[in-house]
Structure formats: C-alpha cells, structure tokens
Amino acid sequence: MLRDTLMITTAMLLGWSLGYNNMATIFGPLVISDIVKYRTATIMGAIFIFIGAFLGGNSGISTMSSITHVTFDVSVSSALGTAIVVLIMTHYSLPTSITQGIVGALVGVGLIEGGINWWIVDKVAVSWLITPFGALAIAYGSYFVVSIFYNRLKSIRLRGTMVRLMSFGFSIYASYSLGANNLANITGPFVGDGLFGRNEALIIGGLAMAVGFLTASKKVIYTVGRDITTMEPFDSAISIFGEGTSLLIFSFLGIPISSAQASVGSTAGVGFVKGVKTVSLKTIFKIVTGWLMTPFITGAIAVIIYMIMKIWG
C-alpha cells in the first residue's frame, strides 16, 4: 500500500509539474489573443493532453523502462529526484527539463546498479540534440506551405478566422502531442518488474499532466504568453504547430523529448523565414545548460535518494 502510494504520489508530482510548466507555452498565445478564455484553454488542454497520453504514450514507456533495470527503489528514487530538482529549478526560474532530468536520474541510479542500456541512452541523447533543429525545419517548412494559402486570402475577415482556427487547432494538437510524447517521463520508469501495468501508467500519467494543465496559473499564462506573442498571431500558431509536430514525431519513435527545446527551435524556424532574430544567445545558452546540467543534478539527487532507500531497506 505504502509502495503504491509513494509511486502514485511521485508520478503525480512529476506529471503535475510537467503539465503546469507547459500549459503557458502551448495555450498562452491563444489566451492572450482573446481567442479562448483562460478556463476554456485549461480544460481543452487537460482533455487533449490526457487523450494524447492515453492513446499515444505507450511507445515511449518501453524506452524509459529499458534505460536500466527498473525496480521499486530505482523508479521511485529517479522520479522523486527529478521531481525535487525540477520543482526547485522552476522555483528559481532556472532552465530545466523533466525529460532530461528523468533520463539523467535513471542513468545515475543505473550506474550504481550497473545495468545501463547505453544504446537507448545514446539514442535518446542524439534525439535531444536533433530536437531544436528538427523543430526549426518543421516550422520553417510549414510556414512556407501555410503562408501560400493564407496570403491567397484577400479578405482580412478570412485571414482573421484562419489564424483563430489555426491557433486553436494547433494548441489542441500540441497538447495531444505533449501528452503522447512526455507520458513516458512520468510513469515510464514505473512500468516493469511488477510495478505499474501499462494501462495504469497511461491513466495515472495522463491524469497527472491534465491536473497540471488545469491548475496552471493565469498569471504565468499571461507572462509567458506575452513573451511568445511578441510574434504575430500567424507566426505563433506556426511555432506551436512546429513544436507539436516534433513532439508527435518523436512520440512515434518512442523517444521523449523536451517540449521547451522543441518550442525554441520552432520559434527560431519562424524567425528564419521572416529574417527576424527570435532566439537570443541567452536562450541557446539556456538550452545547452539544460542539456548538461539537469541530467547530472537529477542523477546525483536520485543516487542520494536511492542510497537512503537502500540503507532504510
């Protein structure tokens, strides 16, 4: 009973944090543009992140549960270590990624246990490096294609309607993709060795992320959304599409990626089309710091928690 409670609580904490932190980047522009209300956005997002997690989250679970041999101690220490680091870093506005955190934690504990599947770790690491560039290429290409149809519309009325529908549709699509891609980060480490069953993992992870979306603060949505909406509504819609598509593609490949880095790549892609600098050196520095720092910190914390759990038996 205590084991189940601990597993569920840890997974819920991670899932909530993921949903809470991503709500603003996906729905911020929609709320700021006054296309939907804040409450409608959180509810729509919560529904679609859950559907995404439930229908598309399965493939990534195998990846996360195969990084090392998962046992109760390994899973809880990794997930708890990641949750602690992510919550602290988010509190101090430091760049972080749950995806990179949980992989770092599993690798850290796996090093102690001595059973890491390096092929999977390498595959995941390469995907992280590819993510921003992939998102950039998708956003760049989509911008060209969609803008052909958009610019053919001679009526501002129709353009306005198209932007609204695109923003709404792409935000829902990105929520679905985020759920499908990142579910594995939340409950993936708990699947196997008599821990969570697959369906349990999908439902608990999906619900946790949905609660994160539902509780996302209005203030954060407006703050983050305003940063994104320095772009025109058409541009931010394409940027969200690029992020969502990157997440979906990697979810088909069963590799969880960082949504924040997909978003940065996508934004840069839109900027390239317009010849505008949308990503600063500071942002690139943040990405690199996220790549390097988060996995090592979560790895270290997870190892400490793992050792404590071992000592307590």
Partner: protein
C-alpha cells in the same frame, strides 16, 4: 471572443463605415463654407460641421468600446483603434478649417476662391480614396492597397496647389495680417489630405501585420 470572424467584428465594421460616412459629411459641409461667397453668413453651416464632428466622435468611441469587448484578435485591436482615430483626425481638421474661416471672419478674395476650392477638392478626393481603402480593408486587400496609393496621389497634388496658392497670397496687395490668415487657411486645407494619408499609412500597417 469567438473562433470565427463573428458578430462583434461585423458590428465594429459597421461602426467603421458609419464613422467614415459622418467624417465625409463633416468634410462636405466644410467644403460648402469654402465655396460660399464672402458676404454670406455661414453660421448654420459651421454649426452643422460641429454637430457632425461630434457625432463622428461618438461613433468612434462606440466602435472602440465594442472592439475592446472582444472583437478581433487582441493584437489587432491597437491597430484598428489607431486607424479609426486617424480617420477621426480628418474630421477634426475639416472642423478647424471651418473655424479658421468663421471665427476670424476670413474673406477669401474672389481671385483666389477657385484655387482654394481646387485645393480643397484634392483633400476631398484624398478622403474619398481613404474611405474606399477602409471599406475594402476587411474584404479585398488588393483594392485597399490601390486606394492607399490613390490617397497618396491626391495628397501630392494638393501639396502642389497649396504651395502655388501661398506664393500667390503673398504677391497680393493686401495687409500682412490677411496674407497670414489666407496662408493659414491653405495650410489647414492641405492638412486634411495629410491626415487622410496618415490614416492610409495605418491601413498599410494593418495589411502588413495580417500577412505572412
């Protein structure tokens, strides 16, 4: 706040059109004052100009309130607001022209009347082109862009007439004070077209921002 271009947007567009109509009335009424012969009393016309200008203000305020109750994308509202305020400044300037004549009891010399009328006609045409641009902004941006070019063309023509007129005013054998008054009138009439051009610049910005 709606997913499609809906009722509120249509309501604002209707108010934009009503506003254009009213600003057009102000411009036309002022034109009558210019055309009047020097000795006629134009107090009724000036009263009408003021009344129409005030009605235009009221429509503008109504449009702004409706806009901020959820019409258009939030990012576009500032541009739309800027546009209707820019159009409103055309009416303000036409009212100023009426005031320059009425408050100073300015008599336009018969020898110059046709030239003032011609200059004012350019401002009227610039405003008419602006109205076409605004009316087409929501339906056909190509037509709106062409109308914007037309505004610029009339503004340039008006500038030429204004310069020639001022030169002629200062060649007349009349008091310096009267020359300055007449120069002031020429400048104010030219400003109507300038303001129409400023408003048409806003249309270009709206179109650019709504393009990919």
């Amino acid at each position: 706040m709606s997913l499609v271009f809906g009722k509120k947007e249509n309501e604002v567009i209707k108010l934009f059109n009503d506003h254009l109509q009213m600003v057009g009335n102000v411009v036309d009424e002022t034109f009558k004052i210019i055309k009047l012969s020097c000795d006629e009393d134009c107090s009724d016309l000036v009263k009408t100009v003021r009344q129409k200008e005030s009605e235009a203000d009221s429509i503008r305020r109504n449009a702004e309130t409706t806009m901020y109750s959820g019409a258009f994308l939030a990012q576009s509202r500032g541009d739309m607001l800027g546009l209707i305020e820019a159009v409103d400044k055309v009416a303000n300037k036409a009212e100023t022209v009426a005031d320059v004549i009425y408050l100073q009891s300015l008599k336009i010399p018969d020898s110059l009347r046709d030239k003032y009328v011609k200059e004012y006609e350019c401002s009227v045409e610039a405003f008419k082109a602006l109205a076409v641009a605004v009316q087409n902004l929501f339906e056909d941006i190509d037509k709106a862009k062409n109308a914007v070019l037309e505004v610029e063309r009339w503004e340039n023509t008006g500038d030429g007439i204004e310069r020639a007129l001022i030169k002629e005013v200062f060649s007349l054998n009349i008091e310096l004070a009267r020359r300055i008054q007449l120069r002031e009138l020429a400048l104010q009439i030219g400003d109507i077209a300038d303001r129409a051009e400023d408003a048409s610049d806003r249309i270009e910005i709206v179109i650019l921002k709504m393009s990919a």
